[in-house]
């Protein structure tokens, strides 16, 4: 098996994620924290992030139904979510969070709903792409997982 080729593929996959704006510089900051002592750190954080953001999105959806037009409450949920997205470098998701909050500020329910749908879509896309990315890294072998692929 050509491990260097797999690593190249993984690097290329990651580059696309950056080029298309799914990820931003903060993701690189997170990668910088991975080392021999913590060789799977990035994947661990990403897994935690998707679990956590999934939960927050679900809570928000419930709140949208249970508390109609309660923009302060909706905004508070979204602030939490935006924080997480920001911490991990989930750039597109973060932008949708910000648009949602803008719409809260304007009292625009439809705008909020639209943003939430986009947010869910971005969440799903990013999750799927990063899962593929980490899978590729794992196939590329321990060396591929422990070191940061060169972009």
């Amino acid at each position: 098996m050509d491990y260097s080729n797999l690593r190249r593929q993984a690097a290329s996959m990651k580059k696309v994620l950056f080029d298309q704006g799914h990820l931003d510089e903060q993701f690189r900051q997170v990668e910088d924290l991975q080392d021999e002592a913590s060789p799977n750190f990035v994947e661990e954080v990403v897994v935690v992030f998707f679990k956590d953001s999934g939960r927050l999105i679900s809570n928000l959806e419930q709140a949208l139904e249970k508390y109609p037009r309660d923009f302060n409450r909706w905004d508070a949920y979204m602030q939490q979510l935006k924080g997480s997205c920001s911490s991990i470098g989930a750039s597109r998701m973060k932008n949708e969070c910000m648009s949602f909050r803008d719409n809260c500020g304007k009292g625009n329910v439809e705008g909020c709903m639209g943003c939430l749908q986009k947010l869910k879509r971005e969440h799903a896309i990013l999750r799927q792409k990063l899962e593929s990315y980490f899978q590729l890294l794992r196939q590329a072998g321990p060396a591929g997982a422990a070191t940061r692929p060169v972009m």
């Binding site: 900051q29 602030q79 991990i88």
Partner: protein
């Protein structure tokens, strides 16, 4: 007399209700050679620090004499359900045994009035999230400064107990001359003012220690 320098890493208590953020701050701190404890709420932070119940501010002087926990710095998120980071900061500053522990506030929102409020309440530093590795280098100066204060007061005790002529410098002179250079040797008390503002946004503004308070001599656990 030889100063006992802690061989053990400094211990930071990190408080954040967000799990991904907790994981990140833990890694940031560990990568920077700190020993880390994370908790997910202000209430749990106070429990860990040995404060109990609602009247934590007046409670546990006696309890603190044998407290096992030794925390050198507290870093906390601002926005948390229940007890906010600001509430936690206040509780810490109201406690005679904890108020000298440096506190850093983190927030994803850049709100100057919030930042000022925290600094005025005694926070040593404010970090805008996402916190970066480069922010970690700002922590040690705060720890060293608070240890230096403690060291000066301990020296004063020793000198007084020897009842010799007091030849050392006035230990209560805690103005800008007790700044510590930001290197790994804690006895190198140069006058390098590392605790001055690094000059960027208001989030870097630090409160000058105007409080020349005398530390309670034995109620703070000694660093071994």
């Amino acid at each position: 007399m030889a100063v006992a320098i802690a061989e053990a890493p400094f211990h930071v208590l990190a408080v954040d209700d967000s799990l991904p953020d907790r994981k990140l701050i833990e890694r940031l701190l560990k990568t920077s050679s700190f020993q880390v404890t994370t908790v997910d709420s202000g209430t749990k932070a106070l429990e860990f620090l040995g404060l109990h119940g609602e009247d934590a501010s007046i409670s546990v002087h006696a309890d603190h004499l044998d407290v096992e926990v030794n925390v050198n710095l507290i870093i906390t998120d601002y926005c948390m359900p229940g007890m906010t980071g600001y509430d936690l900061l206040k509780k810490i500053k109201e406690s005679s045994s904890l108020r000298d522990i440096p506190v850093v506030i983190m927030s994803s929102e850049n709100i100057p009035s919030r930042i000022n409020r925290c600094l005025e309440e005694g926070a040593n530093e404010f970090f805008l999230k996402p916190v970066r590795l480069s922010d970690m280098s700002k922590l040690k100066p705060h720890i060293m400064k608070s240890r230096c204060k403690e060291h000066y007061h301990q020296e004063e005790d020793d000198l007084l107990s020897n009842s010799d002529s007091n030849t050392s410098s006035n230990p209560t002179n805690n103005s800008s001359s007790d700044t510590i250079s930001n290197n790994s040797n804690p006895t190198n008390y140069s006058s390098n003012p590392t605790d001055n503002s690094s000059g960027d946004s208001s989030s870097a503004r630090k409160r000058k220690a105007a409080d020349d308070e005398i530390l309670p001599k034995t109620s703070r656990p000694r660093h071994s």
